[in-house]
Amino acid sequence: MTKRLIAILCLSGLVAAQAAPAFSQSAAAPKDVPATSDATGGRSTACSARWIAAAAEKQIAPNLVGCNIKDVTAPLLRAKIVPAPRETDNTASVGTILTQRPAAGEPLKPFGRLTLQVSTGKAPAPAQETPAPATSAAPEQPPERPPVSSAAPTEPAAASSSAASPAPEPAASAESKPPLLTDGRVEFKEVPVSAKPTDVPDSLREFITTYPLVLLVGLGIFFAAIAGLAMNGRKTGRTSSKVLPRVACEATFGPGRLVRRGPLVLGEKGDK
């Protein structure tokens, strides 16, 4: 919402500046104004386009603190200064520039970025809102936090009402604000899913105590199967002929060499 508001203000400033060029021409008249003192000088004059232009000529940042972002956006762009508005919760009126960077009088080159902290017009968030524990901070948004919301819905309402800002505003800001995510850790602890892992060992323990024999038999079958697989693997490894190629040896014989010392055949046995 506030972003849109600021953007509308910036655009309207641009449109107004473009629609009235005579203003800039007439405002650019006082060239004899001492730049150093005037550009960073009084607040009322510094918001005008000519002081911004004068500061831009000197390549220094104009003093825009206290000005409205709607008034200075167009002059800044014409002076080749890029405004970078940042929203900040503050009780000052909407669009009021709270701080700037670089500070007034500091060097700022053409097309340099001038960061401006712009007030949203809302009270700053209470300090206890972000670091709040789950018990106190959780109940503020009942639809988003189901487990804690039922616990104590009244207490935080009192706390928010004690803040300086009016009652409906914190509720609206709490809906759109990301600080809810900052206590993600606390919420994560309270998610019921986190309790499930602790339930599993309990059921297992219960099963072990009630059916110990079944468990033992199951384990026995499991280990027997594993042992069988291992033995089977070893057997196949031993008998596998793929480990080594088949090797065979066959004897071949050379010619027989007979060495005689006399006649080989002495005679036939039947002859004598």
């Binding site: 080594l244 190629p245 088949r246 090797v247 065979a248 040896c249 066959e250 004897a251 071949t252 014989f253 050379g254 010619p255 027989g256 060499r257 007979l258 060495v259 005689r260 010392r261 006399g262 006649p263 080989l264 055949v265 002495l266 005679g267 036939e268 046995k269 039947g270």
Partner: protein, 179 residues
């Protein structure tokens, strides 16, 4: 019944180790076999053991080949002659014969460059010949010995294995044809 003699049973441990050593060295000399054993180091031992295992042969049958091819027995080649076996008395003589192992790795054949030479010194042996075939040997003694030949020139000294007293009839498993 004749009890057959097997050469590998006559070899002692040292002789077998020598044979395996020579076989391994011979396998290293073969280029293709060396490449094979380099890729499979276990194959070197397998080859060596295979050589000693292939010596499961009958030494008398191995040596009998020299009788079959002897000039003095060529007159008994006729297979149609006679119906009764002829018994020949032989004088002292000796026979040598080389046994060359051939290694087959899967389908690859490698003839090792080594030989186990079997020697037999015979005295008073009688041979039975029937129809041109040598059917048995008997009587006398046979002194068996071996030596290893890494090449034609290099050979280890003879090593005596045993001295067999041959029975009256040592019948060969298959009759050996005289040629």
């Amino acid at each position: 019944m004749t009890e057959h003699v097997w050469l590998d049973t006559l070899l002692d441990g040292d002789t077998k180790a020598d044979i395996e050593k020579h076989a391994a060295e011979a396998a290293d000399k073969d280029y293709a076999l060396r490449r094979l054993t380099a890729g499979l180091p276990l194959l070197r031992d397998v080859v060596a053991r295979a050589v000693s295992a292939c010596l499961h042969v009958d030494p008398l049958t191995v040596l009998a080949d020299a009788w079959c091819s002897a000039d003095d027995l060529q007159g008994y080649r006729d297979s149609t002659k006679g119906t009764k076996p002829v018994i020949l008395k032989l004088g002292a003589h000796s026979i040598e014969r080389d046994i060359r192992p051939v290694i087959t790795v899967e389908t690859l054949r490698f003839e090792l460059g080594m030989a186990v030479t079997l020697g037999g010194a015979f005295e008073g042996v009688e041979l039975s010949i029937l129809k041109g075939q040598l059917i048995s040997a008997g009587s006398g003694t046979c002194s068996l010995s071996v030596r290893l030949k890494a090449s034609e020139t290099a050979a280890t000294p003879w090593k005596t294995l045993t001295s067999l007293a041959l029975p009256a009839e040592y019948r060969f498993v298959q009759p050996l044809k005289i040629y």
